[in-house]
Symmetry: D2
Subunit: 327 residues, 4 copies
Amino acid sequence: MPVPSPNLYPSFNTVRLSHACLNVADLGRSKTFYTEILGLQVSDETDSHVYLRAMEERGHHSVILQKSDLPGTVEVMGFKTYDEADLDRAEAEFRAKGCPTQWVERPYQGRTLLTEDNIGIPLEFYHKMDRLPSLHQKFALYRGVKPLRIDHFNCFSPDVDASVAFYNDIGFRVTEYTEDEASGKLWAAWMHRKGGVHDMAFTNGRGPRMHHIAFWVPTPLNIIDLLDLMATTGYVSNIERGPGRHGISNAFFLYILDPDGHRIEIYCSDYQTVDPDHEPIKWDLKDPQRQTLWGAAAPKSWFEHGTEFTEVAPRDSALNATPIIAP
Amino acid sequence: MPVPSPNLYPSFNTVRLSHACLNVADLGRSKTFYTEILGLQVSDETDSHVYLRAMEERGHHSVILQKSDLPGTVEVMGFKTYDEADLDRAEAEFRAKGCPTQWVERPYQGRTLLTEDNIGIPLEFYHKMDRLPSLHQKFALYRGVKPLRIDHFNCFSPDVDASVAFYNDIGFRVTEYTEDEASGKLWAAWMHRKGGVHDMAFTNGRGPRMHHIAFWVPTPLNIIDLLDLMATTGYVSNIERGPGRHGISNAFFLYILDPDGHRIEIYCSDYQTVDPDHEPIKWDLKDPQRQTLWGAAAPKSWFEHGTEFTEVAPRDSALNATPIIAP
Amino acid sequence: MPVPSPNLYPSFNTVRLSHACLNVADLGRSKTFYTEILGLQVSDETDSHVYLRAMEERGHHSVILQKSDLPGTVEVMGFKTYDEADLDRAEAEFRAKGCPTQWVERPYQGRTLLTEDNIGIPLEFYHKMDRLPSLHQKFALYRGVKPLRIDHFNCFSPDVDASVAFYNDIGFRVTEYTEDEASGKLWAAWMHRKGGVHDMAFTNGRGPRMHHIAFWVPTPLNIIDLLDLMATTGYVSNIERGPGRHGISNAFFLYILDPDGHRIEIYCSDYQTVDPDHEPIKWDLKDPQRQTLWGAAAPKSWFEHGTEFTEVAPRDSALNATPIIAP
Amino acid sequence: MPVPSPNLYPSFNTVRLSHACLNVADLGRSKTFYTEILGLQVSDETDSHVYLRAMEERGHHSVILQKSDLPGTVEVMGFKTYDEADLDRAEAEFRAKGCPTQWVERPYQGRTLLTEDNIGIPLEFYHKMDRLPSLHQKFALYRGVKPLRIDHFNCFSPDVDASVAFYNDIGFRVTEYTEDEASGKLWAAWMHRKGGVHDMAFTNGRGPRMHHIAFWVPTPLNIIDLLDLMATTGYVSNIERGPGRHGISNAFFLYILDPDGHRIEIYCSDYQTVDPDHEPIKWDLKDPQRQTLWGAAAPKSWFEHGTEFTEVAPRDSALNATPIIAP
């Protein structure tokens, strides 16, 4: 039984994933993509950074574009805690796990703890972020795919069992998972804090690398509108996979690539998982509908390409040398 | 300032609303309505009860139809706690508040605490309920409006300030509210536990009475399909109000009446409210877009009609004798 | 039997309705409404006129906004013929019917015949209009309700039987109609040339007056997007009726008013009527689902308000002095 | 210039495509597929035939399933004429072209002319077919993809220029086409009678063979519902291609295979082409967005597989021996 029992009483309380900071080569080009095509709103911008949020978000940012000499890398993934004291409890927890911790200054955020998970993914936790007026009923501002909120992160891990154990320990609960029947090991797992299918997911592969960040939209028609827009405004080659439906998570999905190669999933059809006794769904690695309930098979790039974390060297997975074929 | 500060550390942890038991005159007639029109699935049925769940629910029931000599009344509203010990903490809390408490037997549920809120609404809390196999990808079973899950209760209260104070105390957090500027009192409030706009809402009026229970669907097209179906299968007079969009909650809504007069809302366009510092949105009682961002004005029945709780006598609200005109 | 047999071999061949010229007080204000809210594209504009087309139209204009001292009146309704010779045959036909005819110059149109129907509605027929490059796959240009094409005209007639006889004679075929059982007379009728439910419809009432012009959109979600936009950009009072579904024509509809009071219907769910033996559907004036299969009852203004044709005095209908109550 | 000028005055008037008769191995199996999955309604059935229509059709049948020892072949494609005399004019026209003609008895149809086109496709023309009560507002009957009407036929032709010349001559008008720049020859063409993008289309390849018949649905969500249904009821391998959008015709499409290998397209986003001067849109064979504006590339089977006409031997196309690569 590869999925650990959920830890219903973790030492600190993480509310949800919050934001990612993405390194990009050309701030203007990326801003155009994220605002005109994806449809995010600018909260603030400087010579080096653009801060963005989705239409129903009141926190200051869920995406930070950072001008960088290492474009196509991910600086950090951010999470929000339930209260200030959770930050101190988190520091103690990560220290106890042997992870480096430090307190860092972040614009628009309160006290922020920078640390790493067991495979080296840079994480930051905060409780307070500047709050902005609600936008969700300013319908004249909706653009692109009309994204409502950031939904989840998905990362390659060279050891999914270890990643799941780590996040399970800090209170993330598995909702769905793929098991490699031969080895009895986890191939992939989806874990949540905020009551949907996932805040964080891991897939077997050379890692740590970010596979994608995802934004939630209400209906498949938003995704079809985005495809029409991208296909006729010079972004057709940025469409990587979809539309289709995953068996896992039941997501109606689309995967696109930003100008620096960061993968973004547009996603709808999530379901509610708040029950503490919500049973994870197990999928067999040999079931192709796990990946694709219907739709074209994923291209090779979708299994191979990811964006590395800045200055974190990925390592190969011991589990399977042929990840492309297996899923 | 009529909205109390949220109690982020209540004495027991309620996960979400769970189910309602509705008294009906004709079990067969009601079953037809709830399965063929609304599209719920039967979990079990006896001579006296039909147990129903929506398509993504794994708990045994979210609606219980109960054959009764008091049709058109509501037997009880149910909530799920985070763990078993929460039930004992809940018992202590309700006793301390002077509410009657007793442990009752309920089919398919574990230990169940029956109590009342401050205005007499019968509530039951449980932690364990039989879990059933997932249905959400059995697409051949989808019927009617294709309901995914129960979303919230909405009740008339003769004293909304008192109701909000009571539920705030047990950890429900206000997301939106209407204030009567003249009196400085609350006219209505929406309160959540599970991270959406509401698990429970209160509106000023003769109460306690149930205004409606709501089911969540993903897109407005589900609601339009339901309207087409009801309008051509003999249920056109069961359509009470809608479709339209509320300013409050941003809900694309439809209100229908079941054969005994219980009101059901079909609802989409909810938003996420998990942040503990999520600010409530205040609406002015004089703003008509609060009620109806767009769409026809609500009929008089929508302001006046509700279904009483079995053997609980409602009382008039002191706040305002003309609720129909005011909203 | 009030509906005449269709004239399958009229003396000239009208392809479809084409355009309307609407008199407005403030060209800039109207242009904003028609482009930003409705989503039409500007083909050309002068100090006195704005020429507009919908997204799949290749003809130069389907709406002409004309600056006028008689704002809120309709200048003319335009139709396209199958070939040039049809214009001459049309001239002969209208002359034979005793209608005034003249050849007029119209920008962007070829030879244009100006005439009147039996109740005085100014009509113009042309065969050639400047053709423009297709826009329907320029998805970045879509705005507002994303209108695809003009769909139909709807006019008040003081004598619907006479109007139907007139248009039937020139080849318009009835698809649906309402009969006043008491008098055996037509209350309303829908007539087409292009193979949908209607190019032109008549409703009993003081006339001639335009009730509305309609634009076709593919899905109800376009209409809901428009409602959200209008409700939050200062146009909430321009929403007159809907959304709802008509029994007649099966239209999912919305009625809005432009800044000068011209009524516009947004419409989807049309059906194909190209068969020459397509049977008209009869509705009883006493069947409320004829008007509203579901949805709120129409407001009084919807039965009473229309925009007059420039310098054409309307007269009352003899049929029924209480049109508001009857439908 | 490979596209001939449209013949606006053909010798007989074809209203639209009407129906196809498909040979199947197992009538029960095919009936289940066409009613439960596709959602057609049974008009009549015998031991050897099932007659089906879509939801807004009033003609008796648009698909006939015929039990046959030659399953996976197409018996005939049917068209409706404007009047009875058109049948005699059609007979004269086909005779003049050297095509065989005979008058045949068809259940539920009036006088029926059986003939062949230039490449041997068996065609039948009728004017009268039994008319049935309208179903389009019997919403409780809608099933599967909720098909509204048959939309078009698409066939492989070994000589598309010749096929286009033949149908152009009898009044079909080209709306879009693909030209092979190298040879100056047509690769594919879409031709209509009823005012949409096509009633009949031809693609270069071994022929005559039917590539597909298509049904029209109003929104992409119908197609997504069908995919969900097929993927979870044992029909996942019958999904061949899609969803996606064609550049040509702007169709949001899905291609599925019936149990005998007949290909069916589900289609929305058609546009209006009634104008006699509607300009055809030219696509370059080297433009991949012609085929796929966005979406996965078509599988090899989509270019190669078709169903033959009963007892009509197909021949290879001289134009290009590598059709799979070229498009």
